[in-house]
């Protein structure tokens, strides 16, 4: 875990303060032991943009989201969020590896929904959603609960405030997890295959909720998905990954109807066969 990256010279004055990009990966390297998962990966995302990450298993999609959520430490390069370093902190005109305090501050603008929901089983639905606003942001309980009820209504769980996670279906749990992430009002929402642990008949409910969020908010979304229909409808841009590198990138119509790269075509074929 504790892989050090030495100080890196900040590119340009005071680092790359390009706030027109909400996310910027700059030569990001991630290794697990000898396995180099990301090799100097560069890409950026504009505010409000919805980006679908697709690609074969093991291509590094989850790793990218986990790096952004600060669940993993990178081995090289810099990740910027709204022009501020996420993986690093400024020290004079140098960037040094972020400490826990810095991470705790910067990660607040980012929310994540996991494949396995990861709701807190010791709390009811309402408390799952209010826990962070109350204890991290210091929102008053009343206010947090009112907001949580609104969010739970948004995800169609207006009648489940008191339920415990174990009493809910997978689809319902995932919708609570979405409400829980939104309760912190993140600028960036990360979604890692949020429907792949669900029974097929529960997938549509979760995707509908995400469509609604996409249509009614300007939250930046990065999502890994195997639901190509959803990716096509919701994303502004699709990034096709293979072996930690972007093979092809473009608007969904182009990627899905007219992919330029053989690897993209192969991958899309394989996905269609699977269904």
């Amino acid at each position: 875990m504790a892989t050090e990256t030495g100080p890196v010279a900040a590119p340009g004055k005071g680092g790359d303060g390009d706030a027109s990009k909400i996310i910027r990966f700059e030569k990001v390297v991630k290794r697990f032991g000898d396995n180099v998962v990301l090799r100097e990966l560069d890409f950026d995302v504009s505010p409000g943009e919805r980006v679908a990450l697709i690609g074969p298993s093991g291509s590094g999609k989850t790793t990218i989201l986990r790096l952004l959520m600060t669940l993993e430490k990178l081995n090289g390069g810099v990740i910027w969020v709204s022009g501020d370093p996420l993986s690093h902190m400024r020290k004079g005109d140098q960037l040094v590896t972020a400490d826990e305090k810095h991470l705790r501050q910067v990660r607040q603008t980012i929310g994540m929904v996991f494949q396995q929901f990861n709701l807190f089983p010791n709390m009811n639905v309402l408390r799952n959603v209010t826990e962070a606003p109350i204890h991290v942001k210091g929102v008053a309980r009343d206010e947090a609960e009112t907001k949580a009820r609104d969010l739970l209504n948004l995800v169609d769980l207006g009648d489940k405030y008191d339920a415990h996670p174990s009493q809910l279906s997978g689809g319902q749990q995932q919708r609570v997890a979405i409400a829980r992430a939104l309760a912190m009002e993140p600028k960036i929402l990360l979604l890692d295959e949020v429907t792949s642990a669900l029974d097929p008949e529960l997938v549509a409910g979760v995707l509908d909720v995400l469509r609604e969020i996409a249509n009614t908010t300007d939250i930046t979304m990065l999502f890994v998905t195997h639901e190509m229909r959803f990716a096509r409808d919701v994303s502004h841009r699709v990034l096709m990954f293979d072996q930690g590198q972007i093979v092809e990138s473009g608007p969904p119509d182009q990627i899905f109807s007219n992919p330029q790269e053989q690897r993209t075509r192969d991958f899309l074929h394989a996905i269609i066969e699977e269904r």
Binding site: M69, T70, L71, R104, R107, Q108, I110, G111, M112, F114, Q116, N118, L119, F120, P121, N122, E131, A132, H135, V136, R180, A181, M184
Partner: protein, 216 residues
């Protein structure tokens, strides 16, 4: 030798006084063991290697030496370093410390059984380390280990006669003194055995109930 009911009735008050000492030493010692054990389990997960290493080494040391040696050390040796404790206090601290080495392992297993996804969800919500521990991890870990912790309460209760070694007149000590004065050991020792059973069995029933209630 014949069982003498009158004699049994005569010595009962002294034995019950001993029982009170036994039960209070066990309860106070247990309180120390469950609180300290949790603190140790948390310290052992400290990022600071010096802290986690030292704590681990101390616990290893405590588990490898007999309780009686530790009690003797606290009661007879510490005074020469200026730490003078009453026999009861020394006994309770000894029991608590000794059993904390075991309860900390129980907590550790419970904490490790909390899925990694719970920690990650807490991180993704920016919960502080304190809130992650006390709002998320421990409320899941502790209920699951209540039965195992309960077993140590009963084990501790049965170890409490060791306190007689440092002059605490608990139940067995009282029985021994009565026997030495009257040369009749049958009644006091038998009654002590029965009293141990009478307390232990309801306690284990209580813990089995708690297990059903909270153990998921």
């Amino acid at each position: 030798m014949q069982w003498d009911w009158n004699y049994a009735a005569d010595i009962m008050p002294r034995l019950l006084d001993g029982l009170v000492v036994t039960v209070s030493a066990t309860l106070v010692g247990y309180l120390i063991a469950v609180v300290l054990g949790l603190a140790i389990a948390l310290l052992r997960r400290s990022d600071n290697r010096a802290v986690s290493g030292t704590v681990r080494w101390i616990m290893e040391f405590i588990r490898s030496t007999p309780l009686l040696v530790q009690l003797f050390f606290i009661f007879f040796v510490l005074p020469s370093f200026g730490v003078v404790l009453s026999a009861f206090t020394a006994g309770v601290i000894g029991l608590g410390l000794h059993y904390a080495a075991y309860t900390s392992e129980v907590y550790r297993a419970g904490i490790e059984a909390v899925p990694k996804g719970q920690w990650e969800a807490a991180t993704a919500l920016s919960l502080s380390p304190g809130r992650t521990w006390f709002g998320v991890v421990l409320p899941q870990a502790v209920p699951k280990v209540i039965p195992a912790l309960g077993n140590y309460l009963i084990a501790m209760f049965k170890d409490s006669p060791m306190l007689f070694g440092i002059t605490v007149v608990e139940m067995l000590g009282a029985a021994y003194q009565i026997g030495a004065e009257t040369f009749r050991y049958l009644e006091p020792m038998t009654i002590v055995g029965v009293l141990f059973v009478v307390v232990s069995i309801p306690a284990s029933i209580l813990f089995r109930y708690l297990e059903r209630r909270y153990g998921h």
